[in-house]
Point group: C2
Chain length 225, copies 2
DNA sequence: GTCATAAGTGACTAAATAGTCATTTATGGA
DNA sequence: TCCATAAATGACTATTTAGTCACTTATGAC
């Protein structure tokens, strides 16, 4: 039999006992190939857009046979979903780096948000571009919406979680907090994406300092009024 | 001869003399067909995205033969370019509606910006979605960049023009004003597009009031600091 | 080494889409 | 009414892309 790459079915005792199943050489080879595909796809997607990209572009960029792609993913949107999840994970990782110190002020949290998004924009630019496509794909009512929508929900939720303690209210107003999360996410993503087409990288960097202050001030106002 | 639909070459005396060339019935028919195509394409693009859309989708939606499309446009990206230009024209129209009264304060101008963008978001939602795709298309380094990029440049310039009088400086710092334009555009576009996926229409409407205040305050700060 | 199994391959077929053009329909002038 | 010209058409061909599968290569157990 020559079935597609199997997911290792974790047996219960694995979860309880063995620390790691010790990946065999075969497994490492498959993992390496899969990563090559993911890397190439991110490249292609950020350059051409998910819809305009083709499987051939991806496998050629990865220097692999076309059939190999289909052993690891079912189609373009499958691999795009994985990449979106990874990108959101990276962004969430940066957002969570500032440990939840109870001493932090709201201003500290907001400033941390801005810094984390800027770091993401700078160091994961391909992923930034991918997310901006992906977020848009949503309202283009299409198939596979869940796969692409879920990571964005996680993202908004993380922002909400970090902000809740500062809302200083008994009743948590869901609309209000969602509104804030959209404002934070929208402001940062929107600014950077316009900056990307309208400004030089150095000018963007120089903008962070003045941006930081008004970002923090305005959102504090938005949040507490 | 059966050439593609000709553009009327405006003769000089037309510009000087005749008020209107009085469009013939043939011309009106062609114009009507062209508009049908534009309408259908906007529909399809906002639903599927420019890259995923096909000519067949457009002509079927317009209830026209496929060949008709090619008498009016060379390909998908040609018609998309026209639509982007139209959308930006609508947005600029809204932005310019507040006449340049010298008495306006900076706060007035910023508030007007927000209102104009919200009106655009509400009443031209398809165009809003199209622009958000288009803006992204840019950095996806591809062909036909100019056609799509130019309208966005016009848009940023209009914002800059309206803001310059309030910078209250002898020397106009180009980076600083471009930065502000990106902040305005990014904030508004970003917020609405996140709101579109994360909020109900009524909640968005309810967010405008609180948003307005912090939007104006923060950008005033950003601008004058 | 040899055998069994999984990973990788790329030429192939099937399907979707772009783009063409001989023909039909509508318009406007004589 | 008749003719000349432009607009519209959709069946057609060409091209592009998705997806398959018989085969090759690598790995691991014995």
């Amino acid at each position: 039999m020559d079935l597609p790459v199997q997911k290792r079915i974790e047996s219960l005792d694995t979860l309880v006992q063995t620390p790691e199943p010790a990946p065999s050489r075969t497994e490492k080879r498959a993992a390496k190939t899969r990563n090559k595909l993911l890397k190439a796809a991110l490249d292609i997607f950020s350059e051409w857009g998910v819809d305009a990209a083709t499987i051939d572009m991806i496998t050629e960029r990865a220097d692999l046979g076309k059939g190999t792609f289909y052993r690891h993913f079912t189609d373009k949107y499958d691999i795009a979903g994985v990449l979106v999840e990874q990108a959101i994970d990276h962004l969430l990782g940066l957002l969570r780096q500032g440990e939840p110190q109870p001493s932090r002020s709201l201003e500290d949290v907001l400033e941390h948000f801005l810094n984390a998004h800027y770091a993401f924009f700078r160091h994961h630019q391909d992923e930034f571009i991918l997310l901006f496509q992906g977020r848009l794909l949503l309202k283009l009512e299409r198939q596979a919406t869940d796969r692409l929508e879920a990571p964005f929900a996680r993202y908004l939720e993380e922002i909400e979680i970090q902000l809740v303690p500062y809302l200083g209210q008994k009743k948590v107003d869901l609309v209000r907090i969602r509104r804030l999360a959209c404002a934070v996410a929208g402001f940062v993503f929107g600014f950077f994406s316009f900056a990307m087409i309208g400004m030089e990288p150095q000018d963007i960097a120089d903008s962070i300092k003045p941006l930081r202050q008004s970002f923090v001030k305005s959102l504090t106002l938005f949040l507490t009024q």
